[in-house]
């Protein structure tokens, strides 16, 4: 197997991108852990992150996160199989329900993050 095998076909390339999404996501979560830790600094010492560099970093991570979500949920949906009354549920329906769960979770989390800021 030549080292650059994954550059030879676009499917291979996008597979590697899919695996790579872990790295930016992991870095962002480590930052998030720091954000939690900074609450220890007390009311006067607490300065939340707001540099432009951080926002740009988050935008890039968000692109990877969306790619992870779309690929993971569609692939997971395609392999799950349930039977109802001896008939398999069409996999499009399972994928759709995964995306619905994603949307619902996003709305709930977004609501909590914004509502409790007041």
């Amino acid at each position: 197997m030549p080292r650059g095998w994954w550059t030879r076909r676009s499917n291979y390339f996008w597979y590697i991108v899919r695996e790579f999404t872990s790295l930016p996501l992991a870095l962002w979560l480590l930052w998030f852990l720091l954000e939690i830790r900074r609450a220890q600094d007390g009311p006067s010492g607490y300065h939340p992150h707001s540099s432009l560099g951080f926002v740009i970093f988050s935008v890039i991570v968000l692109l990877f996160a969306l790619y992870h979500s779309v690929t993971f949920l569609s692939l997971a949906g395609a392999i799950l199989h349930f039977n109802v009354a001896d008939r398999p549920i069409p996999s499009q329906l399972i994928v759709l329900s995964q995306f619905a769960a994603w949307a619902a979770a996003s709305v709930v989390v977004g609501f909590v993050l914004i509502y409790f800021a007041r």
């Binding site: 790295l23 220890q40 991570v61 979770a105 800021a117």
Partner: protein
Amino acid sequence: MNAELPLSHTVGEGQGEGRHRHKPAIAHLFWWFMFAQGGVLAAILLPVHILIQGILGPLGIVPVVDRHYDTWANVLGNPLVKLYLLVLIAFPFFHFAHRLRYLLVDLGVPAARGVPAQIVFYGGAVAVTLGTIYILLTTVPISFG
């Protein structure tokens, strides 16, 4: 009688079958399970956190809990929030550890397949989990208010 002997070589264990011992790989099963769970959680929870806490909040477009000490500390004290944050941070790291290990294999580092690499990567995820528990327990005391 003798004529049957050669025939006996054509049944049963063939070449290749005995090349490696087949033992059920329970460890692989467990790490794959964690990988799958972490992948689902990362997929449905991370984008909204990144969007709101990483982009909209810092830009001041919407108010967000972590922008002010009072609201952030208030939320962090809630035990349910602590539990949620543990799940949100720890589980995806098992997903990341698994994927990054396989990514290394794909990029031509066969050593990433071995047990030492497994210890490093999955051990790393365990370390992040323990670190998260420590931070969550020590940063803001649990309050039910």
